[in-house]
Structure formats: C-alpha cells, structure tokens
C-alpha cells in the first residue's frame, strides 16, 4: 500500500514490526524482502513520486576542503532516491578491499568478500544485471583479446550496466500491491528517541513539510537515507548523548569517503588495432547488456607498492574542432545531404590544418593504422580519514533540522595511488609495445584541483567489531542501540575503487535476512 503522510492524523503513534526510513536502493531492497511475510512493515520516504523542490532543498548543505558536489544535486530526495539519476554501472568490490591492509590506515571489514558473494548473486537481478560474472574473459568471444598485462600488474574486469534501473519506478507497483508493507510518502524522519536503560529505539518523530507530525514506534528500525543523511539524523538526535545518537566513540559522521575521479587525465598513444576495441567501445553488448571493460591495479601491485585500489576506463581523445567539422562535411557529402554552417566548418578546418590533414592522410592516402589517443578515466579508492566528516551546521532546514557541512580532503596515499598506477601502466604499455603513456600527474606535484568525487558518498557510520572504532557492528546494528540498523554505503569501512550500489544492495539483502531471523 502507498499512502501520503498528510493522510495520517496529527499526533498519532503508529506501532510496527519494522520501519525502514528512506526509499532508495537500500530501503526498497529491504522492504521487498519482507513483502508477503506476516510482519507489519513501514517504509517512510521524504519525497513523493517526483522531484519537488521544497523537499529537495532539505538536502542543501555546505562543504569544505576539496571542491565537492552541491549536496542537493548529488542526491535525490524522492521515491527511488538517488537511483533516479544514477548511471547504473555495477561491479562487486575486490577481495583485497575487505582486508585490513597495514599500509591503508583504518582499513578492514569484519568479513571477507567470499562471505558477501551469496548476497551479491541475489543482488544481480534486483539491479537488472546478468550473471554474477565480472571476469572479462567470460564476456569476450574467441576473436577478441584482452590486454596482455604481466600477471600481478593490471587485470581487466567488466562493469555490467544496469538499465539504469530506477528503483522507485521499477518496484512501485509491487510496493503498492503489498498487503503488509505501507509506503508512506512525504514523511520525514526528524528525530530518533531512544530509551537509555534498555538501549532500545522507542519512537521516530515524523514531520511533513506542511506541518503534520506523528510518530512511529517500531520494534526494529533501519535508516537507509544515504551516507550523509544517515549521519545527520544520528548527529541530530541528542537526547542520550550530546554529540548524537550512537556517537559515544565520536565516530558518527567521520571517515566520509567518495571515489576520487580524474577524468581524461593521463593518456595512451597507440595506433588503431593495437588496443582491442572492447576497451573503448561504449556500445559493447553481450546478452543484450552494455559492458564496460575496466583496467584494475592488481592486488599484488597494491601490496608491493603500498597503494590503494585503482581502476581506469579508456575514452578516445576528444576530436579537435577541425576534425569534427571535416568528419561532418565528409559524412554529409557521402550521403548527399545538405551541409549547414559551411563557413563555420571551413574556418574550423583552416584553423586546424595539421590535425585535419593527418586525419585525411590516414583515411584516404595510406593503409597504415591511424594514431589513436585514449584518455584515462581514473577512479580510485580513498583512504578512510577520520578528519573527512559530516558535521552539523548552524543553519537549519525548513523542518528545523540542522543542515550539514562536509569536509572532503585527499591525502598522500590518495595521491600516490594514481601516480603509481599511471607509472605502472606506462611501464606495462611500453613493455608490451602497445604504445606509450603520458602520466597525468607528476612526481612532486599535488593532486590537481580537477580531482572530483564520483557521487558515491560512503563511510560516516562505519562498520567495526570494536565499538571504539566503528558505529555499527558486523550486522550493521548500532553498537549502542540494539534495534537500530544502518543500510547503505554509510557502513562501508573502505570503498574500493568500484561503484558502490551493487554492494549497497547486497548488504541490504544481508541485513534483511538478519532482521528476519531476529524478528522471527
């Protein structure tokens, strides 16, 4: 059933077995696991079916440190959450990402990747993905080949691309028809009230933007509001501890991470035919699924070089203005089509004769392979740093909740990771004579200002067996509140170099299993 929070009588207190806050990828995944089970489940969502500006504005905040995305643009606050504009690229994290690595401070998950595999496999169809196989060899046919990197340097894997699935649209009908799940739209959680002696969450204060207020008293509750909002809600609930709920160790909001990205930084100069096209073909499909071949820094190298995880996609270099005009004119002429903007094209070509004549030469005057420049799209693992954090700001949103500030900075290992990866790539490409590589950053320079995040907010309520070092335990339950769970990438102790949503959904399924067991 789907209802609107305005339909609920002000001041009501609603009991339920499980209350999930936030109907994004994580929240909807957990809710669906309870469909048809004899439990009374509520799924509360701040937004409606579409983006509404006053609700989206609740996400506004500030950032310090490196330039970060505006906080109300990098997330979406309505049914389906941020999957309403995600890109859909999925890959599981690597085995090494779960390890405690001596050279990566604060690394280590409470379990290894093998433990998560059954849930990764279950997550695949939920995200509309194919088989749980990411090894690139599986996805190529016999006349294709992978880059011949020396074992232990780099390896190739694929990203499977989801449609990209919009959770709100894809699962709305199932949620609407469900007899035991109540989806409540326009319902904002603004406060969590805990009974201190029993260390149990007692009730949730729910507010709407038009002034309605009621409460929910769940047996068990899961916050699934994304990494920034999960931390914000805990930090804002100060009844028990002045620093926020679950924040006895001071870890709530800390270890905020994203994947640092440098787009078109570093490039590989080669000639056509030497680098298999699958590495830069954006339309490579297998079993009707788009696949992206990504080159990963192997774990052997990560250990040897003491750097974090790194991955690269290759994009053909952007064409110059002149070559673009030349191509457009040639295409139109060959199809007998009318050419518009003649003079602009001619002036582009005349201003860029070197590149145009080289293009012409390789197109028409020789059989030799044409030069090909591939640029790197670098995405790598950020070392968890307690000083990167979500804190509460003085400003308040229209519901009276303090807004957030994000501090996002990168450190020396983050710098060394991309530098090392480029250097190793250059050595491997040279050794195998695939071409030559231009490094994107130089030895002694700081990371450029163009490094940005990848809209993958992680950390802030990290998982650790030791309450002094984390916010939630291995089951994603708050160390200090025994019926309050966290879902989403906020529990990631480290984030690897791959996009997070497949892992978010796998962890959500794992959490649903755990809660089912507990409530049974």
């Amino acid at each position: 059933m789907i209802i609107d929070a305005s339909e609920i009588k002000a001041g009501t207190s609603i009991p339920c077995d499980l209350c999930i806050i936030g109907a994004g990828a994580a929240g909807i995944t957990i809710a669906r696991e309870f469909d048809g089970i004899g439990l009374n489940v509520w799924l509360l969502e701040s937004g409606g079916y579409e983006l509404e500006q006053p609700t989206q504005d609740l996400y506004k905040g500030t950032s310090t440190g490196r330039r970060y995305f505006p906080l109300d643009k990098t997330r979406l606050r309505y049914l389906g959450g941020t999957t309403n504009h995600w890109a859909g690229l999925c890959r599981p994290m690597d085995a090494i990402d779960f390890e405690s690595r001596a050279w990566i401070p604060n690394s280590g998950w409470p379990f290894n990747r093998d433990h998560l595999v059954p849930w990764y496999m279950r997550a695949q169809p939920i995200l509309d993905l194919g088989e749980y196989i990411y090894n690139a060899e599986h996805w190529i046919d016999e006349n294709q080949r992978l880059l011949p990197f020396k074992t232990g340097t780099f390896r190739t894997e694929v990203y499977q691309a989801s449609t990209p699935l919009r959770f709100g649209t894809a699962y709305r009908e199932q949620l609407r028809k469900s007899r035991n799940i109540t989806v409540c739209l326009h319902a904002n959680l603004t406060h969590l009230q805990v009974d201190k002696p029993s260390a149990q969450l007692k009730s949730l204060r729910i507010q709407t933007l038009d002034g309605n207020q009621f409460s929910i008293s769940p047996q068990t509750c899961t916050l699934a509001c994304g990494s920034i909002e999960n931390a914000r809600l805990l930090l804002s609930s100060k009844d028990i501890h002045p620093d926020g709920l679950g924040n006895e160790s001071g870890n709530v909001g800390r270890y905020f991470m994203d994947h640092p990205v440098l787009s078109r930084n570093g490039s590989l100069m080669t000639t056509s035919g030497r680098i298999p096209e699958i590495y830069y073909d954006p339309y490579y499909f297998r079993q009707r699924r788009p696949l992206y071949f990504t080159v990963l820094l192997d774990e052997v190298s990560q250990r040897q070089q003491q750097v974090a995880n790194y991955s690269a996609l290759f994009f053909p270099a952007l064409l110059s203005k002149g070559v673009k005009s030349y191509r457009r004119i040639s295409r139109k002429l060959s199809r007998d089509q009318v050419i518009t903007g003649w003079w602009q094209h001619i002036s582009n070509i005349l201003g860029d004769l070197d590149s145009v004549s080289s293009k012409f030469y390789y197109d028409h005057l020789t059989n030799k392979p044409a030069p090909l420049q591939l640029d790197f799209y670098n995405q790598w693992e950020q070392v968890p740093d307690p000083d990167n954090r979500v804190t509460l700001d003085r400003a308040r949103d229209s519901l009276g909740i303090q807004r957030v500030n994000i501090r996002w900075q990168l450190g020396e290992i983050d710098r060394r990771t991309i530098l090392t990866a480029h250097r190793m790539m250059a050595l491997e490409v040279g050794r195998t004579d695939l071409g030559r590589v231009r490094l994107g950053i130089s030895e002694n320079d700081p990371l450029p200002d163009t490094v940005r995040g990848d809209n993958h907010q992680m950390g802030t309520t990290r998982m650790h067996e030791n309450p002094a070092l984390g916010v939630v335990d291995a089951n994603c339950c708050l160390h200090t509140v025994h019926n309050l769970y966290m879902a989403g990438a906020s529990v990631f102790p480290t984030g690897g170099s791959t996009n997070p949503t497949l892992t978010v959904v796998a962890l959500a399924l794992r959490l649903a299993d755990h809660i089912k067991e507990k409530l049974a």
Partner: protein
C-alpha cells in the same frame, strides 16, 4: 652521395655533444634528404619510426631536458645503421630492429625510462631520438 663511416660518425657525435648545441627550433624534416642516402630513410623508418617524429621528439627532449646525455650504446647503434661502408647484409635491418626492440622492452622491464613532457619513454628511445636529431644533423654537415 655522402658516405658516413662509423668512425667519423662516432667522432663527430662526441664532438657535437661536447659543444652541446641547442637543437634548431625551426628544424624541418624537409632539410633531411640533402644529407642522407635515399635508403637511409627507409632504414630509420623501419627500425625506429618516421624520421619527422623522431626529430620532433628529439627536439622536445633537448629543449625540456637539456642535460640528458647520449650513451655510447645509442651512438654505436646509430653508427651501425649508418655504416654504409659495410657490405649490405640482407638481414641487417631486421637484426637491428630486433636488437632495438629487445633493448626497449628490457628498459621498460627494468624501469630505465625517462619522462618527457609527461610521456614515459625508454631511455634507449630517448637517446636515439637525441642522437638522431641535433647530433646527426651536425654530422651530416661535416664534409667527409
């Protein structure tokens, strides 16, 4: 047609490197044919790559890294390429090409590389480009 012996080449390269002249910035590949026997171009191209590119790279190297030295190996290598006194062996180009490639591969394997404008090149390539740019051009101007 000028003939270049291995000895004169070696001597002039060493002499030229002692003076260490800056490479001509207005150097254009069209100057080249005056100095070399016709088949030399084919030879260089076969072994290393287009002469124009080598010269461009060589120029950039000497502008950005003026202190880079040319080792005897590359001088010797270039001498072999240009030693037109030796009787032409049918597989000479092939042999040299293999030697050159092997050496480059081992450069990358052993980390003997140099960064030029961010591009990672093998030290052998860098030396050859240097030897073939300023030095060779000087050489060609020496009357034999």
């Amino acid at each position: 047609m000028s003939l270049i012996t291995r000895r004169t080449f070696l001597m002039s390269v060493l002499a030229a490197s002692a003076v260490s002249p800056p490479v001509h910035s207005s150097f254009s590949p069209v100057d080249m044919p005056r100095y070399f026997p016709d088949d030399m171009f084919a030879l260089i191209k076969e072994i290393i790559g287009p002469v124009e590119s080598i010269i461009k790279i060589g120029q950039t190297i000497s502008e950005t890294r003026p202190k880079l030295a040319v080792s005897l190996w590359s001088v010797e290598f270039v001498c072999q390429v240009f030693d037109t006194h030796s009787p032409p062996e049918p597989d000479r180009v092939h042999r040299l090409k293999n030697r050159y490639r092997k050496r480059i591969t081992s450069d990358f394997e052993d980390g003997r590389t140099t960064l030029i404008n961010g591009w990672m090149l093998s030290t052998t390539e860098v030396e050859l480009c240097l030897a073939m740019t300023g030095k060779l051009r000087k050489l060609a101007q020496i009357p034999l």
